[in-house]
Structures are given as C-alpha cells and as structure tokens.
Amino acid sequence: MQAKDMFVFREGGWEYTGGKRDWQTAAGIAAICQGFMDDDEGELAADEAVSCYNCRYRRWTADSFLCMWPVKAKFNSSKNKCLE
C-alpha cells in the first residue's frame, strides 16, 4: 500500500480514507511526507509524534481529515502526486 492510495480528492482537499483511528498508517504516511508540520501541543491526537493526525495541515472532518498541505492542494486531480 502506498501513501497516495490512502487519499481521495474531494471538494476542499485530499481526504484520508483510513478514518480517525488508523494510527499506524497515519504515522507511516507522515514519516515520508515532506509537508508534515507539528500542530500545537493541545491539538495532538496520536501518540506517535509524527503522524498525519498530529500535522498542522490536517483538517478534521466528521469521519476523517482532509490534508490541506498547499503543495498537495495543487494536484486536484484523482491522483495524489505529491505523495508518490
């Protein structure tokens, strides 16, 4: 499984398909993502320090999150090129 397979483009950004409790995969994606940026201490959601769930660019949705990393937002096609 590659990181790009875990996101689908929706209006507003790239939505993570793994939901909010996919700890291992979210940490794996952030570990290789150039966009990862620590969010404020009070907003951390995962125990792994580096995780999409702890990234400043994740925007929570009811079921998951959107990745709002501006570089990624450029690729508004069905393919998430920045994570390839």
């Binding site: 209006e11 507003g12 909010k20 409790r21 700890w23 940026m37 969010d39 404020d40 201490e41 009070g42 907003e43 951390l44 959601a45 995962a46 125990d47 400043r56 660019y57 994740r58 925007r59 929570w60 949705t61 009811a62 709002m68 501006p70």
Partner: protein, 242 residues
Amino acid sequence: MKIFVGIDDTDSLEIGATGQTANELRRIIMGRGWGQPEPVTRHQLLLHPDIPYTSHNSSMCFAVEASSQYLQEMIRCAQEFLESSSAPGADPGLCVAVDERIRNVEHLISFGCRAKREILQKEEAYQTARHCGLHLSEHGGTGLGVIGALAGLALRLTGNDGRFQGKIKLQQPGTAMSAAEILASSDIEEIQSIEGQPLLPSETVIIGEKIKTVLLDSKRKLLVYRKNDEWHTITNQHIELY
C-alpha cells in the same frame, strides 16, 4: 467576581494557535495584576464542511477571579490583543462574561451544546449574548469566531466539557504513583477511570508520556484506563472523546 473569557478563530493554516493566544492573554492578565487566571480549556465544536474552521473547530476559554473595576480594561486589552496577534486571514471572536451577571443561563448553555451538533449563525450568537448579558465582539476577517467564542464559554460553564490545555508534570513516564501523590503534587482535583469510577487515594497509577486532564463535574480530572491489571493515564488516543 469570576470573569470568563472565550476566544476563537485566531489562527490560520500555518500561523498561530488559538490555545497559545488564550495562554498569552492569561499571562497578560496576570502580568497586569488583574487576577490569577485558571487554566485554559479547549472545547470541540461541530466538524462540518459548511463551517469555515481552520483545522479543528475548537474554541478556548478560561476564567479569572478579578475585581469588577478591571472588567472594561480587561475587555479592551483582550480586543487589542486579538487584533494585533491574530493570524492574517483569521476571523477572531471574543466573548466575556461575569458569572453573577449572566442571565438565562440555560439558553446560553443550550447555544453551546447546539454548536457541537448544528451549524449556527453569527446573528444568533449576538442575540444570545445580548439575551444572556455577555460581551461579544469580532476582531477581523468575517468575525465568525464570535460563534465559537460564545459556544466555548457556554460549554465551560457546564463544567462538563473540554480538556485542559498546557502540561502537567508528574514523575517520569513509566513510574508508578499513588492517586494521593498525584493529587498532592499537581493541580489535578480528582482521578477517575474513563468509565467514571473514582480511584481510591491508595490506588496506583502508571504515569504516561503526556498528562491529559479534562473538565468534568466542574473539576480538573485525570482519567485513567485499565491495562494489564494496572491503571494507566490516558493517551492522546483516548482524549479525542473530550
């Protein structure tokens, strides 16, 4: 008298954090000698595509015991601070309430609870603030932060919503401490399991990496969970629910 301060929407995608802004405002209030503010609580509001939040739609609130002579100055100071410190593109809102002057408290609390489930409008926030006797003002952008600022303050008043910001230092992670020792060495007021069972003072808790506390029954509580027949402090993964 007790003054409650709620703020929301002071950050942008890359700059600032409303929790930090609230803490800086606390420090200013302390520095001016107006009072000793209580810790900040973070209140989660509705996550919905039609709500233009930055990344988490959470709102911050703290309370401070202060003399009424400082109230107007405190409001002015908070307004100026939000205007000068909020990130470009933010939509900051400020709500200030004095506990003994709040009217129609059920109406106010209902607004806060609805903000966790429904999309609310700015006009309703202003109406509610007027109806309940609160100060509410916007300080840039669309000013939509007034909804969260009012809702966060209302949720803090319930005494049963949100988690405390800031770090609590206990002993090293992995250390065992008795519940009595934890209470004696921190601002934590009670320890209970996530199911709601209070711990006896003699019970032992294994300290985790980060100590997270929540507002329950109007107290700062440490929550613990059972693993391998021992109590452990909750992790980031558990705190999502608060």
